[in-house]
């Protein structure tokens, strides 16, 4: 069992190196460098030299990559071109806000999805299932910014219950930010819930028709116990996988949603950085997101192994 965890961590580590490499190389590949990209017409003379010195562009690519990664691990992500501040400061509170938003969405969406998935799977093709599956279908196919716009229209403009956009600064306390989380979290949860629910539902339906559930019925096990003891553990295994995929999606979706609601998180920071052509900042944020994704995947892998005895080695489990 330990061996599997170590192996997975090893792979995760390699993946991180690979991803960092991609992020780094894609910027290296452009003609010129981050300074010329930022300064554009003004990329000449002392301004250019100062920029190059600050960003350390006089070192070779390989050295820069190594330094960049080493720095990143310690928390030093370089300096933003536009704001001339260490990136770490800029990112700090925004990261907290984004994690707050994403975390709330996940904390609400995942359990809700699993429950709904079971509900729908057990009542396959009945009204409850058709309704749930239908709504899930809509949530999955309508783009998030559309859903967000619609919700803003209904709840912020028409009913005036919630703020349409966020006015508080990034450094505001959690309590101040909270009301602004509600609508964006609803949108994000909707999509997440839809996908996870669908997977759970399929898993439940598959397992309900499996040989071992049929056998349990022939043993005389009451239906309720079959669901809890025989179906649920097996149904959760593929669900955990989808949860990992969902987090990947979440990292993309959160960028769009933050933009719609003007929420002071990593997403809006990244977009701003792109508009400003502040490449070091863009790179750093891409790196952070990728790390989070790899980390979540690792957790999902380990959870899957814990849930499914078949994924463990043949050593006895007490």
């Amino acid at each position: 069992m330990f061996k599997i965890i170590i192996r997975r961590m090893g792979f995760a580590f390699l993946t991180l190196i690979f991803v960092s490499g991609i992020v780094f190389i894609s910027v290296e590949a452009l003609p010129g460098n981050v300074c010329t990209a930022y300064l554009q017409r003004f990329a000449q003379g002392p301004r250019l030299e100062k920029c190059i010195e600050q960003q350390g562009l006089d070192r070779s690519s390989a050295v820069r990559f190594r330094d960049w990664l080493a720095g990143a691990v310690q928390g030093d992500l370089g300096v933003s071109l536009k704001r001339q501040k260490p990136i770490r400061e800029l990112v700090g509170e925004r990261l907290r806000n984004t994690v707050l938003l994403a975390g709330t969405s996940a904390a609400v969406g995942v359990p809700f999805a699993i429950v709904l998935g079971f509900w729908a799977g057990l009542r396959r093709d009945k009204r409850a299932d058709l309704a749930i599956s239908g709504i899930a279908m809509l949530a999955m196919t309508i783009p998030e910014f559309v859903t967000a716009s619609l919700l803003i229209f209904i709840f912020a403009i028409w009913l005036n219950w919630l703020p349409a956009v966020t006015i508080v600064p990034p450094s505001a306390s959690v309590l101040d930010i909270l009301p602004n989380i509600i609508l964006p979290a609803i949108v994000l949860s909707l999509v997440m819930t839809a996908h996870i629910m669908r997977m759970t539902r399929t898993a439940v339906i598959d397992i309900l028709t499996s040989d071992f559930v049929e056998m349990a019925r022939l043993k005389g096990v009451p239906e309720r116990r079959i669901i809890w003891r025989h179906v649920a553990p097996s149904a959760l295994i593929p669900t955990v996988n989808v949860i990992a995929l969902t987090v990947a999606w979440l990292l993309s979706g959160v960028v769009v949603i933050e933009q719609v609601f003007n929420y002071p998180g990593m997403g809006t920071l990244m977009l701003q950085a792109i508009y400003d052509r502040d490449l070091p900042l863009v790179q750093a944020i891409a790196l952070i997101f990728s790390f989070i994704y790899v980390g979540v995947n690792l957790l999902a892998d380990i959870s899957a192994a814990l849930l499914d005895p078949r994924l463990r080695t043949s050593r006895r489990v007490y």
Binding site: D211, E214, A216, L218, K219, G220, P222, R229
Partner: protein, 689 residues
């Protein structure tokens, strides 16, 4: 006479087709099972035997409905009860031991927890006592380390262990009746024999009724007091086991018995023409009529009623004539020539060789999967490779065909050495060596027409015009006795036996010198098996190909082979002309294998070792059979590889006992394998010495 515990009364059930027409799976079946009695339900695929057995529990697979009739258990009309009522009876009064225990045990619960669940539901034993009872049950089913096994998950157990767990679970609830649906299918011959012996003892100890479903008449003969024979959803005959097997009244069991290969003689059994009807086909007359040699018009139009006989009942209009008809097999004559087609010398194959870094870290190579294999085949000859699972027989075929390069040793085809890997073999070299696979479903591309499947090898090896291709393809279809109209169709529409014939035709399309047959009859129904064997023999005679025939079924190998090699853990134990190998003197393993075979004769008991153990890998030194051998020659068996003892006729045995010792041992046992009749009531066990 004890009262009937289970009664199936004129039961007809099935499903509704797309046009809402009734498609019957069972037609008008009536059966009874008395208290303490064991009844065997025998049939091939599509016969409805499992459906009948499950109906006794009031269970129908999804999509099925009862058309008419009843199923009564212990006075309860099972289909009239509500689902909760049925649930209460199931598991507690009537329990099921299913076919594939590996799939029917919940993968996320330990085995012990699942047995405990059954106990908690039905037995009313207190919690603490339940744990003990679980361990008791596990030792009852002869599992050697109950505490360890109870903590294991289903996938951590072997097939035999899983099956025993399923039996333990069924027994735990204290059921009065057990339904066993092919519980030993897929298990080794020796394991199967052990489980059956133990079931016999159990039922006499505990006075339980058993309904044993199987396609294997040998198994049923050993276990059942009465037999019910099913064909295509109809009950064709039932009666006392001994009498029915000695002299069946209905043509179908007659033909079935005639088509089972026997160990005693080298005969291709009589084959039944045609194939079983498709499932759910609606018909008016007897289901067996199209294939029955005695059928007349009446048979096709009317359903035969039950005819009372001395031993039971049969559903046939021509019972009297059937009794006189005896299907005869064809004795086999060898068509081997003297030219050596394939020669294998000192072949060793290993699945896992540790890489250099692993070896540096001290990981030792495990013993080779296959080692020290030598044999030679001549044109027109058939070499049979027999053994249980893990014997390496399929591995050897893979090495010869080039899928796995051998670790060392040579394979010579027509005198020229074969490159180990298929990637290094030219078309000239692959053409003479063709293979037929076990599972025809998987071996034929569902998206290609039959014509395209047969043309593929011809297009690859020969340069032919389209007209020539068409001609050859039609010849092949004729050779395998399939209608030309099948050519433009697809394999999805064909039956198992028909598909296998296409597989055979495809192999012969290349005009091979050697055909590798990997368990080609194992997935077929018995009635189809015989005709497939006859086809293979005919093709050999007309085209002069040599066969390497791999099978776990000794009787089938006996029927078709000129030479036989017995394998254990990838090493040859014994090799020689078929007649010599199947008669004493034997290698100790061959003796056990032959002894474990179940023949359709209730008075013939298998000979078994007290211990039923299976090994996962061979020992690194010494004789491969050292751990299980009942008659070891001494400590030398552990340290040195056994030498070859040459007996008459090129018969070679690998054993530390001398030829004289082996011959002497042989004379103390029965010479004729078919009459292992024992005096009534006694059982003979071979004990380890």
């Amino acid at each position: 006479m004890s009262a009937a515990l289970i009664t199936i009364d004129k039961l007809s059930l099935g499903f509704r087709g797309r046009d809402l027409q009734r498609r019957p799976i069972l037609r008008n079946v009536s059966l009874t099972v008395d208290v303490g009695e064991t009844i065997g339900i025998v049939g091939e695929s599509g016969s409805g035997k499992s459906t009948v057995a499950l109906a006794m529990m009031g269970y129908l697979k999804p999509g099925l409905e009862v058309f008419s009739g009843r199923a009564v258990f212990n006075g309860n009309d099972m289909f009239a009860l509500s689902e909760p009522q049925r649930s209460r009876l199931r598991g507690s009064e009537i329990a099921l031991v299913p076919q594939n225990a590996g799939q029917t045990l919940t993968p996320t619960m330990t085995v012990g927890a699942q047995i405990e669940e059954a106990l908690a539901l039905h037995s009313g034993i207190a919690r603490k006592a339940r744990r003990t009872r679980v361990l008791e049950l596990l030792s009852l089913v002869r599992l050697s380390t109950p505490r360890v096994i109870a903590r294991r998950y289903p996938h951590e157990l072997s097939g035999g262990q899983q099956q025993r767990v399923a039996i333990a679970m069924a027994l735990g609830s204290g059921a009065r009746a057990l339904i066993l649906d092919e519980p030993t299918t897929g298990l080794d011959v020796t394991t199967q024999a052990h489980i059956l012996e133990f079931l016999r003892e159990l039922t006499s100890e505990l006075d339980i009724s058993m309904v044993y479903v199987s396609h294997d008449l040998g198994v049923i003969a050993r276990v059942a007091d009465r037999i019910a024979v099913m064909y295509a959803g109809e009950l064709v005959e039932q009666g006392n086991t001994r009498s029915l097997l000695r002299a069946p009244a209905h043509p179908y069991p007659q033909a079935l018995l005639g088509s089972i290969p026997r160990l005693g003689e080298r005969v291709i059994p009589a084959s039944l023409p045609g194939f079983p009807p498709p499932v759910g086909e609606a018909r008016q007359g007897c289901a067996f009529a199209p294939r029955c040699p005695l059928s007349v018009d009446r048979c096709r139009n009317e359903l035969p009623p039950a005819v009372e006989l001395a031993h039971g009942t049969a559903h046939c209009f021509r019972v009297d004539e059937a009794a006189l008809w005896k299907p005869a097999g064809n004795p086999v004559s060898s068509c081997r020539t003297d030219t050596v087609a394939l020669e294998v010398k000192d072949l060793a194959i290993s699945y896992f060789t540790p890489s250099l870094p692993s070896r540096l870290m001290g990981v030792r190579a495990s013993p080779d999967t296959v080692a020290r294999v030598d044999f030679a085949i001549r044109r027109g000859e058939t070499l049979g490779l027999v053994g249980e699972s893990g014997s390496g027989k399929s591995t050897i075929l893979r090495a010869i065909s080039g899928l796995i390069p051998p670790k060392h040793g040579t394979i010579e085809l027509n005198g020229a050495s074969l490159p180990g890997s298929i990637a290094h073999r030219s078309l000239e070299v692959t053409k003479p060596l063709q293979m037929i696979f076990q599972n025809a479903d998987s071996a034929l591309n569902p998206r290609l027409s039959v014509r395209e499947i047969l043309e593929a090898p011809m297009k690859l090896y020969f340069d032919l015009s389209q007209a020539e291709l068409d001609q050859r393809v039609e010849n092949l279809m004729g050779a395998v006795r399939l209608p030309i109209s099948y050519l433009n169709g697809f394999v999805g529409q064909l039956s198992g036996g028909e598909k296998q014939r296409i597989g055979i035709a495809r192999a012969f399309a290349a005009e091979p010198d050697i055909v590798l047959c990997d368990e080609v009859t194992s997935a077929l129904d018995v009635s189809v098996q015989a005709s497939t064997l006859a086809l293979l023999k005919r093709l050999q005679e007309s085209r002069g190909a040599a066969y390497i025939f791999v099978s776990h079924d000794l009787a089938v190998v006996r029927a078709i082979s000129d030479q036989v090699a017995v394998l254990y853990q990838g090493r040859i134990c014994e090799i020689g002309p078929t007649d010599s190998v199947f008669k004493p003197p034997f290698h100790p393993y061959t003796e056990i294998l032959i002894g474990a075979i179940l023949v359709p004769d209730p008075d013939t008991a298998p000979r078994l070792l007290v211990q039923d153990a299976s090994e996962s890998s061979p020992p690194s030194i010494g004789c491969p059979y050292q751990r299980r051998c009942p008659c070891r020659a001494g400590p030398i068996c552990d340290t040195e590889y056994p030498p070859i003892r040459v007996l008459a006729d090129g018969h070679r045995i690998h054993c530390h006992h001398t030829s004289a010792a082996l011959t002497a041992r042989a004379s103390s046992f029965d010479r004729n394998l078919e009459t292992r009749t024992l005096s009534a009531g006694t059982e003979q066990r071979v004990l380890s010495q």
